[in-house]
Symmetry: D2
Subunit: 252 residues, 4 copies
């Protein structure tokens, strides 16, 4: 059974989008600097941030059986949000395979920050997803480069973060289907910070901000982007394709 | 019957998407073969088809003052649907310019069939939008090639039309931002039949079916695609960009 | 006759593009119907077809040690052409990994026909690469939809093949970076038959025609496309990206 | 010295790419600050920079009859380079139309810096091509984001310019077919600084650097990018599409 994160007994299946926020939930427990920022874990900060948006929100973490991503949980998830950093290799191949096929089958996926190096994201991209990085508490400015896209609703021209980890190009991903944000970093780099990818019936959004030592997930506009992305990734999709040998539709 | 857009007291701004269906409305009045299929005009057939979807629907035609596309009408339009064929040159440049800027500013636009040759679509594409064509009442099959896209919701793998005008490649458009449908024609051609384009804050969908002598707009799945496209094109967009000279955000 | 790649003293590094044609080379030896069409193997038919184009051509097959794709061979390969069908699982993971990293590092890759299901292509795409198929000796017409692209040089509006295996949508690939050809099939299907993909420093072209029982690789225009794709995939690329921790370029 | 394009007996049609460098050539004559940087005009600086690359180079300027872009000149041009700023409106519509159709027909086009606001580029884009700007002699860093692309050959990870005019997002263009460079500016902005666009048979490259008061076109790597873009834009293209009414290829 899927329990409500935020106690909502009034959940209406047809109205609320069902979001599962997944976090490896390690640094928050072992690193006091991180615990000071996210005492209940990054997943709870994100879930609480998203609460006003009316989603049905569930959380799951690495240490749970099957990392909390059982078939039942995934069958009740419209959009999965993924945060991981230090323990990518501890995620079992079986769970990665299960989530991967859910995404291809239409479950939305939002990959945050260091999730770029997760097995799941790499498998969906087909590339190494390597990048440049630097922890220098520097300023970042996320510029909107596709203001027609629903992921940009409610934002201004850019989002400014006073402290973030730098992620810099070259980012080893395929060219995104839609480039939504470009990040400017004080130290001199740029980054394709908000990218969408379509994979079969699934919609994927990669969003760069969110290093564990910075209060990024308390920033209203960052949460707004994630909420927008939930709506976009949960928007309806087409029928499951049929593969394999097939009879002709016309006389051959 | 289609009620007027403006002044309707039953209109709830936050709930219903406001759709204006524009038609040149000529062939239906002068060509008995067309009148037999669309006695009240293509615009009314589309409007009636869309009625069950809960949009607030308005229609406008060429012969009205300002072609029915006054600033007031456009200010109350979330998505404009455009059908034209024989009278593209009769659409005034002033109205084209007005609608063009509305699209850049975030109004959704759905261009149907022979609307490919409208001044408006050509101006937004930057190309001639020429193509091959043939009126032979041949079979068409519209194949879904992006089943993640909301425009494909509720469809199967393809839509089959028993009679359509052939539109064939090369279609002189920029590569679409998203290719949704590819059309197969009995006579041996293919066509990029469903294409999306982002232009500043506006979302545009071109959809090929709908020759005036065929009952295409009575086909439930064709209407479903148009309704899906209305939802997609009306989805929220970002803020208006600021252009021109600007002060530095960082010390230079 | 195809000369060996390595040690050939006639090789001029600055002039000739070095092409390695890889084939699993199984059906030609066990299936008389295939042997009748390609008595020396598909790899030799392609190599002979490409001979007039002035490339330095090498061939390699599955049964060779390391499938003929040793580090030395790959180090002397600008563009790798891949044909496989029945023995995808027999290709060792080690060789797949080696070739994969060569592609990311800038080696061009042309994947033909049933190579869509190779481990290599799947790994680069991040999707399952499934599709519909039918062996009915039906007619195919490959329509050019990007006549600006160098892969289309020397062709007309389309290429017609009297007999091909049908490959139909939905083709489970990411949206290609460039869609070059759309295939029309007599039996009623369409296919994204010519697709390019950029992956880090590498350029990839997928080209659908070439079932082993049809004389497709003797067709001058099919060979022309492959030759064009060799030129495109071998065109220069940028420097190897640097990944990992990096110092700031500006004062932070 | 730049030799004339037409009638030059040293011209070898099959070997050298024919480049025409067009410049409005105004600021260099009226503004001493610009004249100090480009005493012979920006067109000559570019032409001299490109000289070692072996192109056959011609120049043309606004004040010439038909702005130096007669049908004969264009018929002998493989790639047109365009620099304009203060006199976009002085370019005749007739010449714009002529060049536009040449581009659609396969002539390569490289639009530099303030050429974003030329009639020609706007017509090809279908958008207003507006942007943010600032003249503050600030540092720019052009980051490569597609190292597979031939336009990046011979470069490192980025190009650094000590002084450039800032061009900032949002840049009102359609999403480019290929995004090659992202510009970082000292003052806090980013820009899609290197973009390719395919239009029918023509290839277009927009490249942002090159304000008239800075010595940008003497920078070896900037010239290298332009030379690479010439090669890319001059690469072969497909046949002219046929448009209009057409007979069926199969029995209907």
């Amino acid at each position: 059974m899927i329990k409500a994160l935020i106690g909502g007994k009034a959940y209406h299946e047809k109205r609320a989008i069902r979001v599962t926020v997944w976090n490896e939930y390690i640094a928050e427990k072992v690193n006091p600097e991180v615990a000071a920022v996210y005492p209940n874990g990054i997943h709870c900060a994100i879930a609480e941030g998203l609460a006003p948006y009316g989603f049905y929100i569930h959380t799951a973490v690495l240490e749970q059986p099957e990392h909390g991503l059982t078939p039942e949980v995934l069958n009740h998830t419209d959009v999965l949000i993924w945060w991981g950093h230090h323990a990518h290799t501890q995620v079992s191949d079986e769970v990665v395979e299960r989530v991967y096929h859910k995404v291809l089958g239409g479950m939305g996926l939002i990959v945050l920050h260091s999730g770029h190096f997760s097995k799941l994201f790499g498998k969906l991209m087909g590339t190494t997803c390597q990048l440049k990085w630097r922890e220098a508490k520097e300023r970042e400015r996320l510029w909107v480069v596709n203001p027609a896209h629903p992921i940009t609703a409610g934002l201004g021209e850019y989002i400014e973060l006073q402290e973030e980890e730098m992620y810099g190009e070259f980012f080893d991903i395929p060219a995104p289907d839609e480039l939504i944000f470009i990040g400017w970093f004080q130290g001199g780099e740029v980054f394709r910070s908000g990218c969408t990818f379509y994979r079969r019936q699934g919609k994927i959004f990669y969003f760069q901000p969110g290093h564990e030592t910075h209060p990024t997930y308390y920033h209203k506009q960052i949460i707004r982007v994630i909420a927008n992305a939930v709506h976009w990734a949960a928007s309806p999709h087409g029928a499951s394709p049929v593969f394999g040998n097939t009879a002709a539709l016309e006389q051959v």
